[in-house]
Symmetry: C2
Subunit: 201 residues, 2 copies
């Protein structure tokens, strides 16, 4: 009766649980009961809970559009990746923390970076300059989307509670800024900074 129980099925179920009930719902016991299986059965397909977390990160980064398009220059590649990863963060806000805390030198994040590098180099940027630009842009994306995702998750959690009790002007200023326009503007600031630096070299 096991519906193709596998590492991927386990990770996919885990992501569904996080999307539905929050990050703290990512539990071996929850996954097992969702799959109508004993808890210890999971250990036949997965070594530890951390392995499931890594697989979930892989699922999330797999949703990002990192394919190269012909005729696309590197700025366009980076804009498309930025928009795409932001969409993932908005679709899976509670799970996005896992992406932000994932080790950058291991499989899922490394594969993601490699794909973006390939598409960027195809877009006419040197490998060295790609690394320099991705260093800044990846850090920015991680930080920005982490903050947005945290705010989204908490807003969603507060839905069931009373109306908001926020009334601080500064707080409003700082959070309203998280918008499509602010995100795009920030990305352009970084690209402008890169272009200026390289123009001088």
């Amino acid at each position: 009766m096991h519906l193709h129980l596998s590492r991927e099925t386990i990770a996919r179920t885990g992501l569904e649980l996080i999307d539905r009930d929050g990050l703290e719902a990512l539990t071996l016991r929850n996954i097992a009961s969702e799959l109508s299986v004993g808890v210890t059965t999971l250990y036949g397909h997965v070594r530890t809970r951390d392995e499931i977390v890594s697989d979930v990160v892989g699922l999330l980064l797999g949703e990002v559009d990192t394919t190269a398009r012909s005729g696309e220059v590197w700025e366009e590649v980076l804009r498309r990746v930025a928009t795409s990863v932001r969409a993932v963060a908005h679709r899976h806000p509670a799970a996005f923390t896992l992406v932000a805390t994932a080790p950058v030198d291991e499989a899922p994040v490394l594969d993601y970076a490699r794909a973006i590098e390939e598409a960027s180099v195809a877009g006419g940027i040197s490998e060295q300059r790609f690394i320099e630009s991705w260093q800044v842009i990846d850090a920015f994306l991680t930080g920005f989307l982490m903050m947005e995702a945290t705010a989204l998750t908490r807003a969603r959690a507060a839905e069931a509670d009373d109306a908001g009790t926020t009334s601080d002007a500064f707080r409003g200023d700082m959070s309203k800024v998280h918008s499509d326009a602010a995100f795009a503007a920030a990305l352009e600031i970084i690209i402008a900074g890169l272009r200026q630096k390289w123009g001088r070299e």
Copy 2:
């Protein structure tokens, strides 16, 4: 025999535990036994574990040098804050995840942002432009330092284990980039992008 048990003592003990034994050591039971006190005693001074986490974030951000210096222009303020918060992340790598995942519209992070705004405005930047610049720089700092802190934490944890088994060239390229020079260069790229945008307005 209670050594001034208070919210701050609890948070300070919690931070020491994280620094010594990692983030998963931040446990009510560990804090209590460190203070030679029953677990439930903590509930006399703290409502939930999350409150302790928020207090630890406050301690970390309190270590950042956000004071205004006379004669300092806004770029210098932002460089000093960046260097200072990076030092905090290096001193408390395991705890830094808490800063990155903390809600940006609540007390500890909000106070921190307010102090930097004040120093920056004293350094000759308008409030509107400060918000625009901090949006990018804060996201960059959060993302960059999160990655560094994660790498540091894992490297420290691997000390007790065997020698590293890493042998991938690309992985080396991507991680070596995390250096003082790369950090400073990234910050200058963002500042250059901001100046260019404002120069055109």
